[in-house]
Amino acid sequence: MKVPVGWLQEYVEIDADVQQLADALTFSGIEIEAIHRLGLTCTGVVAAEVREVTPHPNADKLRVCRVFDGNTEHQVVCGAPNVAAGGCYPFAPIGAVLDRGEFKIKKAKLRGVESAGMLCASDELGLSDDHGGLLDLPAGTEPGTPLETLYGEPETVFEVEITPNRPDCLSMIGVAREVAAVFGKTLKLPTPVVSESGEPVASSVTVAIESPEACPRYTARVIENVTIGPSPVWMQKRLELAGIRAINNLVDITNYVMLECGHPLHAFDYALVADGEIVVRQAKPGETMTTLDEVSRELSPEMLVIADRQKPIALAGVMGGAGSEIADTTRTVLLESACFTPGGIRSTARRLGMASESSYRFERGVDVNGVEWASRRAAQLMQELAGGQVRPGVVDVYPAPLEPRTVTCRYQRARTLIGTPDLADETIRDLLTAIGLTVTGGNDEACEVSVPTARLDLEREVDLIEEIARLHGLNQIEAKLSAATINPDADDRDARRVESIREHCVALGGHEIMNYSLVSADLLNQFGIPEPERVALPHPLTQDQAILRPSLVPQMVDTLGRNRARQIRHAVFFEISTVYAPAPAATPEARPKETRTLSVGIMGMPEGQTLAPRLDPSASEMFGFIKGFWERLAEAEGLTDWKIAPDDAPWWEPGLGIALRAGGEVIGRLGIIRKGIRKAWRLSDPIGVFEVALPSLIGEKDSLPTYRAIPQYPSVTRDIALVCDQSLPHETLVEVIWKNSPGTLEAVELFDLYEGDKIGAGKKSLAYSLVYRSAEGTLTDADANGYLESVGQVLKQELNVELRDR
């Protein structure tokens, strides 16, 4: 909301300078977001009368005007839609300067017609942002009057943010009330007085409220014999500074009173309201109405309308209808001042995609007891500024008057919650009365206050305490560290375990990445993830972020690919985030499953202990890297009991993808991404990826390591080399070795692997070191040779391997 400081001064005396005022308001809860200086940015502009308007010979949208500046007539070409003979507008003659000296007016030819200056819109003068047409100066403005005489010095305007709980501050008086409270001043409110004449209003207007829950109060006044014309400059100027375009005196008055007191009003042309009958009702199915913005709207029964006997004439609290609009011909005004409840206004405004200054205020809530004041104030101004005669009385339908609320505030409670032990009872009462509350009772421990109906937000003790805190000053509160307490049930072990996993991934060379939780269907299609495995948003913001990710793998590959496109050869990435799976069964309470997941991706040769630049790794080398990362991580995290199994994920290179199993279930998968998928990112070299559900790594509870005695006797090592079919897994060989060795076998380590010409196709050569050690004494060479001999025999017989001498 825009608040001209000069307007505030009408209601409260302000001694503070602009910055002090802005700070004081910000720290009492009305945030001043910006401070503008608005006013004329031009020199040499005068009021001028347009005496004749003729079409431009060469342009449809331009007109040629004869303009009188008080001394002489000029020919001026004008493109504004509202220029009319007899009108009075700002005129910038040759030599005038606009836009703070940036734009000097010179003689010009527009489409072949000479123009000796320019007629100006409000924005060209610096008065507002409005470029809807020429600024219409009030009738009777003497041609030649300098604009400075009319508009004076630039004014300070605050850009104010009003939080949704403070609709009472959506007006000049509302803000002025805060200023008065903060600076200890008195609020000066105008007392509108009208002199009434003619037949009582009740004889020509009837009001029926059919939806009292949506409209608790409706008042109507009638003002006769009004003369439509521009409103006075002071009013135009205030409206423009507050960001509302001046239209004509009647419309301007309703807007002015709304800005003044926060209560939206509406003026109907009485002649266009059939029989002066006002009905406040829900719209009927299929009803239509053309609103002031010339749009025909289809109405529905959840919308509240103001109707006459025949038809809707306004969308209640949102916008008037074109059929009953104030026009130049209007002689009698039916002035509506009513209270509509927020819910109905909101649904009407939202359904029609409309928002107005009026709906904005009703949606937040207006004071039902402020209705009559606003009506009287507008009637007074119509009398004073439009020559209207106010019919006696007001039609006021208010079936259930709202009484001020009484709320109790305990002094000690306020002190404790705010943390100000020294705040005196009396100070608390003073702070509450400063914002218009009345102390109506109480005792030593608490006070009872009456809350005006304008303060819809003050319902409970804690609401009053908030007022006390902000008016006392949040910055007066002395900071106090809270005392430590221990909650024995509080444990964040899982979070700490995730932190540990992150640290281990970093230590293993991983850079942590973060991708969006939402992915595109296209990406998932590339990886062959079928639709039943996806949780899709019914209304995504963009197609790029339409599905909650079922796996971290697609974005991992995408991230590697995008880095490769930026000339990164090698990278190790990891991501820890949630993946989502559809609810397992279609029961009403089933929700999609969320699993915290770790993914790791590697491309290129990992940097390690060598300086030499290396070629791209082979697929089997890459498999070793990614599996090694997983093994080291699992070991560091204490997960020892895991196994591999075949995996059918559609994105693996054939034969190069495995499932990781632990505790009887699949906890993850690991492998090399299929070439057909990689090529979309031009990744020609193998990419290793694994993904594992974090709960399996986190475990249920911490297992503490146990000491084992360090061996006293030396070990004996024997090597065994063998040749076998390529298809025989290392895992099987190692199992057989263990099974057929005595308890003295301590370790089996693979130290050589060869596949190639020397041993023939379909074969591989493996060499293992077997380490023997006894806890009872030193093993002899003969012992070790014996063990080796017997395990060798079994390998030969059971697995058909060929032993080689080394």
Partner: protein, 338 residues
Amino acid sequence: MKLEEIDTLTGTAASEAAVAVDLAGLEEVRIRYLGRNGRINDVMEALKAAPRETKKDFGQAANRFKQQIQAAIEERKAALESSAGPAGSMVDTSLPGAWRGGGKLHPITLLIQRATSIFRSMGFTVAEGPDLEDEFHNFDALNTPANHPSRDPSDTFYLDGGLLLRTHTSPVQIRYMETQQPPVRIIAPGRCYRRDTMDATHSANFHQIEGLYVDRDVSLANLKGDLEYFVRKLMNLEDVRIRMRPHFFPFTEPSVEVDYSCHVCQGKGCRVCKHSGWIEIGGAGMVDPNVFQACGYDPEQVTGYAFGMGVERMAMILFGIPDIRLLYENHVRFLQQF
């Protein structure tokens, strides 16, 4: 050989040993003087031929010859060996080390972990909740009116079946209080989602850190004190100040926005704080009694404060990152910087 000649020869040999360029050269020196056919033979002959009265002097000179040359050789040998590899070659110690390839944490994690460790030192523990929330935990229990704009499908992502992507980390407060009795001291870092079109400062995915402290007689003064302590530790600056501005959130009453004095200019005004001297760290306030009631706590028995801050925003301010999208681009040259 005269007595003086022996000493001169000792000096010459010692200096030759001292300048030997490598172990082979040093060995040549040893052979030349102390070897089977070396100059030591001349010295021993001179000793043998010396008359009785000078025999003792020659004996001492011969000892000096052996000992001093031997010592010079040992000393040079030690020097040469210490700078030589196994092959005896020189090592360029300015070469880069070979143990390379460590990773880095993402800046968002870095900020969350930094904040978490500070709050842990203040007795807070980490609590977490699901990304997919129901309206009760995300809105109703947090005292959000039924018609509040934040519930609008144009602000919040809804799923079929009434769930939504949580719009803040505040539902973790509710879930925690539903199952735990006071005192409560938790922080809840996590992902949140809003229907914001992506630009330099907005992302539909973002992170928040939520804090909640509930106990007897918790006050706004505690909120101020605790946040002041936190920001001091976060910024590693002793004289950071905190200020609170009144604000409105449905789940706190009173509600405030919290600023701290700019860590770059110490409040004097600079580009980082947009010349105001202050930087906003988030929203906060005293837990609304309705929130306590929704969780089964008695607001007459306990009070509490809650706060929430945007992690991306803080990371951008702290690390000088100009565009929020950089945080989700995952370029390795970006990730390496933190």
